[in-house]
Amino acid sequence: MSSGVIQDIVYVVALIGIGIPLGLYIYKVMTGKLTWKPIAALERFTYRVMHINPEEEQTAGKYALSAIAFSVFGFAILFLLHLLQGYLPLNPEGLPGVSADLAYNTTASFVSNTNWQAYSGETTLSYLTQMAGLTVQNVVSPAVGTAVLFALIRGFQRRESNTIGNFWVDLVKATYYVMIPLSIIVTLILVSQGVIQNLGAYVHATTLETGAEQVIPMGPAASQIAIKQLGTNGGGFFGVNSAFPLENPTPLSNFVECLSLLLIPAALCFSFGRAVKDSKQGRAIFIVMLVIFLMALIGMTMSENVAAPQYDGVAVSGSMEGKEARLGVDTSALWATATTSASNGSVNAMHDSFTPLAGGIQMFLMMLGEVVFGGVGCGLYGMLAFAILTVFIAGLMVGRTPEYLGKKIQAFDMKMVCLVILTPPLCLLLGTALSTFVPTITDDFTNTGAHAYSELLYAYTSGAGNNGSAFAGFNANTVYSNLGIGTVMLLVRFIPMAAVIFLGGNLAKKKRIPASGGTLSTSNAMFIIFLLLIVFVVGALTFLPALALGPIAEFFKTLPTLG
């Protein structure tokens, strides 16, 4: 067995092995069953300065307003840091303020857990902006996702209740008990491997062959990279993200970063099962995600190895353009699969140079709505929306009122589900289509023909999936793209999020229907296959035409008979 296959197997085993206990831990934390004195004291202090009563329950409206209010101020702080960094401390390179359109784009991207990189960290952002700006949103945006997920879960747990928990408590608990402790562990592992963590000025070194000056960027990188991976954020400390050796120096650091990337989204499936008092429900959702993930992983690895271009006089090999020698083909394919399923968007190799079908799989994973593990919290609530759609369609087939986890699914619930499922494709396809009308857009491509269209499609797919990875050949730092993609990122984050909160609120109001012989099981193999099909059919129907113009067209061009 090749070491690449062993690495993939160990990866999946580790994901499940750590995911299950972590899922139970998150469940206990978020339901208040587990507290620890020092953190509880910090929690109480936080509530006191916020002037809120942690015992107070919120309706869906208040919960949504709280999430929006928090994100608005987070947005404001980050936006100002970008503009004013030139006048603020912790800026040893004396970097000036960022242009308003780039600041808007980066802020939208971090607040929406997308972390699209129109910026290049080491040449654009001061240490203060990286730490007090980006790192903060890296921590809190997944915490917001986790909070909203639990608001939805309470919709299933509660009966005839007007409230779905307290946003502030959910946010603070997710941050203090989950995000920060895990980040500390991962930070220390990364530093041990050679990821930098300092506040010093950039180092000016001498190169060996020519004696020329070489500038080595510095900064508090490890603490940000840890949460960038754990929180499915993905915005690199450096421009080329986790391909940069100081961000990801060894195969071991790579494994830890790659595992961190799916860990919390996978764990939340098990938290969900535990919270609805039926672990089989969480397991069913997890299996659906894992099956799609494995299919993508196999497809991507095969394409990169088998469909790679070969040249006379060069040893036969997988595709190595844009990949690091320490990581190689298989390791890069594993990461690319994980990052596009998880709405993380960090890269350890250049996606633009992947083989056409591998690039197509990356896009398709994002187009499925980032529900294959997906972002922290939002991936699972997206998949639960698909599960509700599935029971709805099954209900139509047999002429029964659909139910999910003992709750009747009615008109209002389906409207919210449609908002969750349809907002991203709408923004994606409209955004791409409108951009093709912009006359100057062709100046922003590196490639030509079908692959140039793929660069544009990938950019909007990434924005609309809140993913953040890129075909880096596309020059995204233009006023048009900064504003266009920035706005898409905000819409696809907050419209579905609000819909999920109101869905949770509406479900909580309902009675619980006891399961009977006629109830559709939502945890058996039949349901798993049905849910898989629904996810694929919705994704394929929506996006195959768009994909046909890009990666699929390019793939057929490589076939010898057609080329």
Binding site: S66, M131, T135, I216, G322
Partner: protein, 195 residues
């Protein structure tokens, strides 16, 4: 009427809570967390935390030859040469004509550097890395260059191989990533800057 009033003040309370919460999180997650991490890293792992720099004493002066983790450009035949960095990474489609042309140019470059060497060139020597500063190549790519380096330096091939072997790492834990040779470290040792 009374109820409406409390509702309104509650809504104002939410916005105030949002502002304070954003500020608290900025201090806690943006300053306390990264600064404590910086402190711990600097105390316990200063070399790694500061970029794994290579500092050599030369004529009583300290010279920094860069970082063990950041690749440098080598073009002369007596050096081990790493990944191409002519405007890298290309970000071109792997199967595009543009990418093929780049690779052809690099194949020719290698053949001009060492005309007698007719072995197949390992792929990573004709493709650029993602970072553009990849510090490594595969052991096969180092072996491809052994005879040339030995000839240019008047060393035995086995001596060159020994230096390369010293700076070769296997897969982490035996199965993670790839075997790799650190190009800069090999060249520093070949030049006698480190031993």
């Amino acid at each position: 009427m009374e109820e409406k009033k409390t509702d309104k003040s509650k809504k104002r309370g939410i916005w105030l809570a949002g502002l304070i919460c954003a500020a608290v999180m900025t201090v806690f997650c943006g300053l306390v967390y990264p600064l404590i991490m910086t402190g711990i890293a600097q105390l316990t792992m200063p070399r790694q935390a500061n970029g794994s720099l290579i500092v050599v004493e030369e004529d009583g002066q300290k010279v920094c030859y860069g970082s063990e983790l950041i690749g440098q450009t080598f073009t002369q035949p007596q050096y081990l040469i790493g990944r191409p960095d002519d405007g890298s990474p290309s970000n071109l489609s792997a199967v595009s004509p543009g990418q093929e042309e780049l690779v052809r140019e690099r194949i020719q470059w290698w053949h001009e550097l060492d005309p007698g060497n007719t072995a197949d060139i390992p792929m990573e020597l004709v493709t650029s890395s993602g970072s553009g500063v990849d510090p490594h190549i595969s052991p096969a790519a180092a072996e491809y260059q052994v005879s040339r380096i030995a000839r240019e330096r008047g060393m035995g091939e086995d001596e060159v191989r020994a230096v390369i072997a010293k700076h070769t790492d296997g897969k982490d834990l035996g199965f993670l990533g790839e075997d790799r040779v650190n190009v800069l470290m090999v060249n520093l040792e070949l030049d006698g800057k480190i031993s």
